[in-house]
Subunit: 592 residues, 2 copies
Amino acid sequence: MRKKKPRNRSRLISAAMGKLACDLTIRNVQFFNVFTGEIYAAEVDILDGFVVRVREDGQEAPLPAASVYDGHGCYLIPGFIDTHMHVESTMMIPENLSRAILPWGTTTVCTDPHEIGNVMGIDGVSFMLDNAKLSSLRQYVLAPSCVPSVPGKESTGAVFTAKEVADMLDMDDIVGIAEIMDYVGVIQDSERMHTIIDEGEKRGAFLQGHAPFVTGKDLAAYRLGGPYSDHESGTAEEVSEKLRMGIHVNLRASSLTDDLNNLVDGCRDHLWRDFVSICTDDVHAKDLLTVGHINKVVRKAVNSGLDGREVIKMATLNAAREYQFDDLGAIAPGYIADIQLVQTLDGCRPDAVFVEGKLVAENGVYLGDDKPVGNFTFPNTVNIPQITSPEDFCLRVPDGYQEETIMVNVMSPLASKSSKILRKPVPTRLPVKNGCVDISGDPELVYFCSVNRYGSGSATIAVYRDFGLERGAMATTIAHDSHNLTIAYRDPQDAFLAADALRQCGGGVCAVDEGKLTLLPLPVGGLMSPEPCEVIADQIDAVQSAVNEISGGRLSLLGVAVMSLPVLPSCVITDMGLVDGVTQQFVPVFPD
Amino acid sequence: MRKKKPRNRSRLISAAMGKLACDLTIRNVQFFNVFTGEIYAAEVDILDGFVVRVREDGQEAPLPAASVYDGHGCYLIPGFIDTHMHVESTMMIPENLSRAILPWGTTTVCTDPHEIGNVMGIDGVSFMLDNAKLSSLRQYVLAPSCVPSVPGKESTGAVFTAKEVADMLDMDDIVGIAEIMDYVGVIQDSERMHTIIDEGEKRGAFLQGHAPFVTGKDLAAYRLGGPYSDHESGTAEEVSEKLRMGIHVNLRASSLTDDLNNLVDGCRDHLWRDFVSICTDDVHAKDLLTVGHINKVVRKAVNSGLDGREVIKMATLNAAREYQFDDLGAIAPGYIADIQLVQTLDGCRPDAVFVEGKLVAENGVYLGDDKPVGNFTFPNTVNIPQITSPEDFCLRVPDGYQEETIMVNVMSPLASKSSKILRKPVPTRLPVKNGCVDISGDPELVYFCSVNRYGSGSATIAVYRDFGLERGAMATTIAHDSHNLTIAYRDPQDAFLAADALRQCGGGVCAVDEGKLTLLPLPVGGLMSPEPCEVIADQIDAVQSAVNEISGGRLSLLGVAVMSLPVLPSCVITDMGLVDGVTQQFVPVFPD
């Protein structure tokens, strides 16, 4: 559970009474008060990382502070709090995340390490916690609730039962249970979800929800099952219904989705928005380099018609109260001195950022040391003994099959031309050559393979239509949520080259074009890189360029990463087979 | 600490999903949503005392409930929460308080039993908790923080150190530390207050403040010392300063004070009022019979210019969030079904009140059983062996004193003609007769006596000018905060009669006029009566009439009750002597 920053009350009282000098006074600012909405000239006194006092115009400090920072007339506001994000989505390790987002004014993040949890279990979660401690960014972690996302339909590196969740909740700075995605399990009161939520309730832990498209009686049942927040709304109606039910709504704008205009419509005309906060969920390194973090969402929300003061309150005080953090999200005596100085109240990049009263960024530049990342050794998590030659990527027909063609469940786009993610099996007759299904005659087809990378030896190969890959192979060890090695390819030779490269570097993302490899190594669990944001962004650019070449510009470098998630209303591929996400039944590659 | 109402999540989920019938549906209501401020037609389904679902127009119940209540088009709002009150001030025991205030729509009170705590220590607090459990009203108790109010200057029946406070915090339904009145101790970081607050912080308990007239650096120091709420503001400026500091402000209108107009001025123009709630502090039986409880404060706040929806949110959701009660203060899935049906949103008396989904009052009538109050035996707490005859009430001059007159520190009104509470010693020469000070020649003087009632044998007799008593005696065992037997009298004979009557009945309030006694017995700790509200109100009327007779209508029946509190900026009388509340020094009765 959360370990509050310890405070010496006697010292703080002494400082307020003028018997002890403060460490710092930030002067010459317009103070924005998130309790009252007022703005007034003030100076802020800080000791031991806590706010001692906000002195309004004319109130002298009883003793001068050891140092003074001139705010040059900026607004002084609290640091932003991200109520839900996955560090792994940035491909950075927690320590480098800190360097990347502090300059944007985010000083606290509540993270769900369910990607690394699927790969490495509690060891992975512990790594995230430990590495986060090397950073100035306050990083609270939530215990992943649904590892694996669907039991029995995918192989992961770990399984979290109530026991593991309980163990995590007892660790310092694990503040709750992360997005409870298995909403079907919750509303059907499955034993897995019931017992996991029990552990949270027992400890008074925060229970983070995840309820896309859930409405009416299902939403009531979901709320009754435990979770009291949600960040998955896509429409105004969803936001409105959830708020009416007292569910904390985290307005989300990620690198993947941006429905913020709609979401704002769901709360703009309410009398109160106390239960609205802000989150980024998944945000990419490039965005963090160029457009920002929570401040970006604030800016969008202001552009969608909300008052900037209201949005800043959402991203600070409301977020803190959602988690019942009573020492964060505001600037007042006793609060932790996480502070931004900004020129406008609309999500602009801050001129200065302080964490616990220490200046950590100025004008977009991180001021902390540039020392190499914390010393850690990380095991290679790509364990694929089943892959020994290019032949392992051929789709073999069943033993003894003698015909020249065979019926194959070709995974084809479900309906809409726009979304290529959702798929259904379409039985299609394809030629057989040397005992393998041959797609060379149809340029619309690719092989798609999910290779267990946790040593079990399992793998599934299938055929996909209209995926977008024209030649070569693209591969990744990021494949939600089990993160097995997933490859789309026209040529088994290229697939083998890609697999072998990723095995050697411990995972990552790569493209192969006629034997030429372009690689983004992610040796930390096959998900993250120890490199800083700028380097990762460059590597992403390089792999994306290569993917553009082999897909005619149709595919994103993570195009294969979302084809394996068995909670999607789609037919997906896992290392155990093809899975219908709606019925949760396996679908044979060969229908007969 | 708080023990949450246990819930069977499986049953609640089943009910939402239509697999189990609810206990009750309240239909035909205008639902007022305290999260969003919206009002819309709805039906509310309840099971096991919890809200299962709020169905909006057109949403059918999947299964009909076992019973249906027709709301006749009323607004449906949550039950009110009183964030700070003393049950003892009503002179009722907790069980009867419930009968008196549920019909007004208050369903939860957070009470400070510091009166009974001063008299009987933890036994008294336990009685309040145990007796409260016999009632439908949800009564949370806070551990009294300042017993006695000033150590070493008054004798109480108990002393609470950090040890006792810790023991209380570990009891069920003691949810925090009650009004931390010794603000001087907090800002001077006294060991007593520091160690007591430590016990609260250790447990994450609610730390209730009490900071009248505290401002600027003192207020910051007080907040840093621990407390995060306050109900003692008297002006708009106090409210505003506290809110700016993130202190939860409990707007108070009691039977003793009513500055609500001013208080509302301190928050009306703010953008947000999330940190504002409502409390009654001290409210008398007569008020509870005639004008109401929290609803009365709501009405006044609306009359002072606040939107009724905003005030209802203060008295429900804001109050619950102040205490971090996440299952109270709103009507939504998973919340406890404490509900009022009201015709207007302005503090009117509710047409119906439900606690945990059970109808407890209709049209001002309590519907619970009329069974006699819970069986309890209460010790007689009036232990005054030092009083054996009328002579014990004579003010004797020092042994061997032979003069015919003597200088006496006569306790005289401090300054203003209006307030007779604040006093200062004025040395005055008075006649001596039979070895005693004789006031018979000056009708402006009375004797004033504080008799230790906890068996120590101590007593103080002094002379007061311009108190208002013309003849006879008035006496009470309610005398804040030590509650020693306190008597104002012209005639020692009448004083003895009063003292003897109160000794026999275990305490109370009485008036004696030429040998005629009028008595309000308060056998429960000398503070409370086992009788219901109506009976107490009648007894109060009778004693007040008698007091009117002997004071020419100048005195309230509790006129002597506030002359003993050593935290007042006044010279007060305790069983240990006269005490200057400002210097905390004793003042001799005879100055030479």
